[in-house]
């Protein structure tokens, strides 16, 4: 009647192995202390029950004991804290050369877009033994991308990008759940992560897609919307040159510096006046309501692909000239 009865989730990513070690440690330590308290209560209740004891012995307390049972637990807590924080820090820091996949959540489905143009719904195919980074946003309410086999979860918010990365170690099909209550069909917003051997993954890649890479979709859109008339790939544009800009610090009109990441590009498309690049005017119209979440992601993928030839150097406030690597940056 019952197909199976798991008490331990499958371990299918490096993050899962790291976490399970801490979890087992926590189980052992807290289990021992809980057991100790249960035993003490039971022993005291039996040993000092009213029929065995003529009269209770007055005891006020003991500062030594109080100090011990304050400081020792606190010391143990510090171990939990540091270990948990180290794992969290690793989980939140994606390796630089991760393969990027875009996730758009909506009531009540997951839309997944690969860099090569494959699109999936409620199913994500990834290769084993690769670092994969998800860049996620929501079209409506807050959702949460949860893969128990990876021990990973990240809320997916409207209006911004959150990220999650993993390194799968075991081919198979694993649950993908929405873990943040999102309305009627919350429990139906489930899917699967298919972790594949490299060969199988290559075969899968060649079978799908068809619309061209995400960046090329973004390039078409970039042209359709006329973005290129201002964001020219030389120094003459009315908007900043986007070549080689992504991932670099950008100096703003008000003197601040921001890193041109996904959230910055997104904001600059939807609310261009929010952070003006130094040396430019606030003349760009908002594209709020003009481009949807998926089109935004393709535009971001396109901007990312514009790496030009000065990838290693920081971008200054003025547009840089592409393909002339020796050219010094104009102020």
């Amino acid at each position: 009647m019952f197909p199976n009865f798991p008490i331990w989730p499958v371990r299918a990513a490096t993050s899962a192995s790291n976490l399970d070690a801490l979890f087992i440690f926590l189980l052992c330590v807290t289990g021992m202390v809980t057991l100790l308290i249960f035993i003490l209560i039971t022993v005291f209740a039996l040993r000092y029950r009213r029929t065995l004891v003529e009269k209770s012995t007055p005891i006020l307390g003991s500062v030594a004991l109080e100090t011990t049972w304050s400081l020792v637990p606190f010391g143990i807590f510090l171990i939990f804290f540091v270990w948990g924080a180290v794992i969290y820090f690793q989980e939140r820091t994606a390796p630089a050369d991760s393969m990027e996949i875009y996730v758009v959540a909506k009531q009540w489905m997951w839309k997944l877009e690969h860099a090569d143009g494959q699109r999936e719904i409620n199913e994500l195919h990834v290769p084993v033994d690769r670092d994969v980074k998800l860049i996620m946003t929501s079209q409506d309410v807050i959702h949460s991308f949860f893969v128990p086999a990876f021990r990973l979860k990240q809320d997916v918010l409207p209006g911004r990008y959150t990220t999650l990365w993993f390194h799968a170690i075991r081919p198979g099909t694993y649950h993908l759940f929405c873990a943040e209550y999102c309305g009627t069909q919350h429990s139906g917003m489930i899917g699967s992560i298919v972790v594949m051997n490299p060969a199988a993954y290559e075969a899968w890649l060649s079978g799908g897609g068809g619309e061209g890479s995400l960046a090329s979709t973004g390039q078409k859109l970039f042209q359709q919307l006329g973005c290129g008339s201002c964001h020219r790939s030389d120094t003459q544009g009315r908007g900043p040159n986007l070549v080689g800009m992504f991932g670099k610090p950008v100096l703003l009109e008000d003197g601040r510096t921001v890193v041109a990441d996904e959230n910055y590009v997104r904001e600059s498309i939807l609310n261009p006046g929010a952070k003006i690049v130094a040396g430019f005017k606030n003349i760009m119209p908002s594209f709020q309501g003009v481009v949807n979440e998926e089109q935004l992601l393709s535009l971001i993928a396109y901007v990312k692909s514009l790496q030009g030839s000065q990838q290693r150097e920081p971008v200054s406030n003025r547009p840089a000239v592409p393909n002339v690597s020796a050219q010094p940056r104009v102020k």
């Binding site: 809980t34 308290i37 009213r50 807050i142 139906g188």
Partner: protein, 543 residues
């Protein structure tokens, strides 16, 4: 004491001092107001419990077959809202606190008796609105009202539910205010801070949180209402708002609210264990200060509800650290209660069984809290059944057990009658077993990955869900039993006498039930709290 039977029947006390609806609905007697609260929150407890049973029945099978998805979402939302705002938060303070605080400090009433009555009316207005919300279609926001779901995507009575909680919140604030002033200003001669029973310390700590925290809940719910009605644009990103701002505001109250719920329960346990161990509480000062420590540190941990919500890595680390810090005073309390039993003379009376159950279950709830405070672990188990199990171990295993311990312990004082001891023990055991059967499997469900608030679930989770549902029916029987025998005891229970437990504390030095003004003359306190070495070494009424 048993010879007092005939005298009590004649004697005037708070219950027979006056008759008629008016004498109850316009009373300013803290004891009568406590009873008004007792009846109201019991009503809400069974409504919330009924929703819980329907939830468990739905989860008996993996498919969503008993109720529709929207109905299920309403069930868990209303279960949470009713249980938290209309049962757990008022339970110990408004019932036992109201009844006992003036008596424990040797006062005639609270500092502001009319404001106390106003608190109850606000509670009833809030509760009435919540009932209206339920009866006219309900609400499906969860108890957390997360935006932008609640402000822009749901078609249910979100504003109505928010208003009802907003109003009930003021009831909580006024009760807290009343307690703070009462404890500061109304103590009998000789009742110094260092001689106060620990129940007062923990209710004092609770009152601080109620007064400082609840206004922030009122602010967050008002903003939800304004955004929903007038598109204010505070939280919804499409209107230029920030959804994480709501979570910060909401948890700034709602995490300390956890301590509003548990601290008074800790106070009850601190009274019951010394009495049935016939012994002073171990480390009085440490238990007292731990309450204050929890109240203060409790305000610094709210974002541990948001580790996967998209906050920065470094702020998450700060909140993880403070979460471990706030666990220390709780640990101190558990060790002190346990040590109090050492070399005592222990009675297995019903309140003591509940109190021992409380220590065990609260310990398990606290220990699993240590898992959740660890950042990496939280990422996996948050928003799963692990967290559902964790907070039910604190709220139900801890708080409800403590509330029942207190209700049994002070029932002789409240009603003047003894409840039937054998039935009391049976109910305590039933609740303990039913509780563990209901909630322990949920730890495993959560660890293996079952998300919370799921109407339907993958079939491999069924075995544990069936166990949990089975447990919930046992638990339901366990909760109905005291309801029945308490009512029975009002008529058929043995006369209790002034101090059936031979307990310390001023409330036991007056008659049962107490006279309207509690004491014939203001007591003068010349002894320390829990002076069991000066009291009878036996419990007069052995259960």
């Amino acid at each position: 004491m048993a010879s007092a039977t005939t005298i009590t029947a004649e004697r005037e006390h708070y219950l027979n001092a006056d008759y008629g609806m008016r004498s109850w609905f316009f009373t300013t007697d803290h004891k009568r107001i406590a009873l008004l609260y007792l009846i109201s929150i019991t009503f809400f407890f069974f409504i919330g419990g009924f929703f819980a049973l329907l939830i468990r029945l739905e989860l008996l099978t993996p498919q969503g077959d008993l109720v529709q998805a929207d109905t299920y979402n309403k069930l868990f939302s209303m279960h949470g809202q009713v249980m938290i705002f209309f049962f757990l938060i008022p339970a110990v303070p408004a019932v036992l606190g109201n009844f006992l605080i003036p008596m424990m400090i040797g006062a005639k009433d609270l500092a502001f008796p009319r404001i106390n009555l106003l608190s109850w009316y606000l509670f009833i207005i809030g509760g009435g609105l919540m009932l209206y919300t339920i009866l006219t279609g309900g609400v499906d926001t969860g108890w957390t009202f997360y935006v932008p779901l609640s402000t822009a995507y749901l078609g249910t009575h979100v504003v109505l539910a928010a208003v009802s909680i907003f109003i009930a919140g003021f009831s909580s604030i006024l009760t807290g205010l009343n307690f703070i002033v009462t404890i500061h200003r109304m103590r009998a001669p000789g009742m110094t801070w260092g001689r106060m029973p620990l129940f007062l310390w923990s209710n004092y700590a609770t009152a601080i949180i109620q007064v400082l925290g609840t206004p922030v809940l009122a602010i967050s719910l008002s903003l939800v209402g304004l955004e929903r009605l007038f598109h204010l644009g505070v939280f919804n990103p499409q209107l230029g708002g920030d959804p994480l701002l709501f979570q910060h505001l909401f948890w700034f109250y709602s995490h300390p609210a956890v301590y509003i719920m548990i601290l008074p329960g800790m106070g009850v346990v601190s009274e019951v264990i010394p009495c049935f161990s016939r012994k002073r509480v171990f480390g009085y000062e440490f238990v007292a200060l731990a309450s204050i420590g929890i109240a203060v540190l409790g305000f610094l941990v709210w974002a541990h509800h948001m580790f996967v919500a998209g906050i920065s890595v470094y702020s998450a680390m700060v909140f993880s650290f403070f979460s471990y810090l706030v666990a220390v005073p709780s640990a101190i309390k558990v060790f002190n209660w346990t040590a109090t039993m050492y070399k005592g003379k222990i009675y297995y009376s019903t309140p003591m069984l509940y109190a021992m159950g409380f220590i065990g279950l609260f310990t398990m709830g606290g220990m699993t809290g240590l898992f959740l405070a660890a950042l990496g672990v939280d990422v996996h188990v948050t928003d799963t059944y692990f967290i559902v199990a964790h907070f039910h171990y604190i709220m139900v295993g801890g708080m409800v057990m403590a509330y029942l311990a207190g209700l049994h312990f002070w029932w002789p004082k409240i009603s003047g009658r003894m409840y039937p001891e054998a039935w009391g023990k049976l109910a305590a055991m039933t609740i303990f077993i039913g509780f563990n059967l209901t909630f322990f499997p949920q730890f495993i469900l959560g660890w293996t990955g079952m998300p919370r608030r799921y109407h339907a679930y993958p079939p491999e989770f069924q075995v544990l869900n069936v166990l949990s549902t089975a447990g919930s029916t046992v638990l339901a029987v366990g909760y109905l039993l005291p309801m029945v025998y308490f009512l029975w005891s009002l008529r058929y229970g043995k006369e209790a006498g002034d101090n059936p437990w031979g307990a310390a504390g001023l409330e036991w030095k007056t008659a049962s039930p107490p006279p309207t003004y509690n004491f014939e003359e203001t007591p003068v306190v010349t002894w320390e709290a829990y002076n069991y070495e000066e009291l009878p070494k036996e419990v007069p009424v052995v259960g």
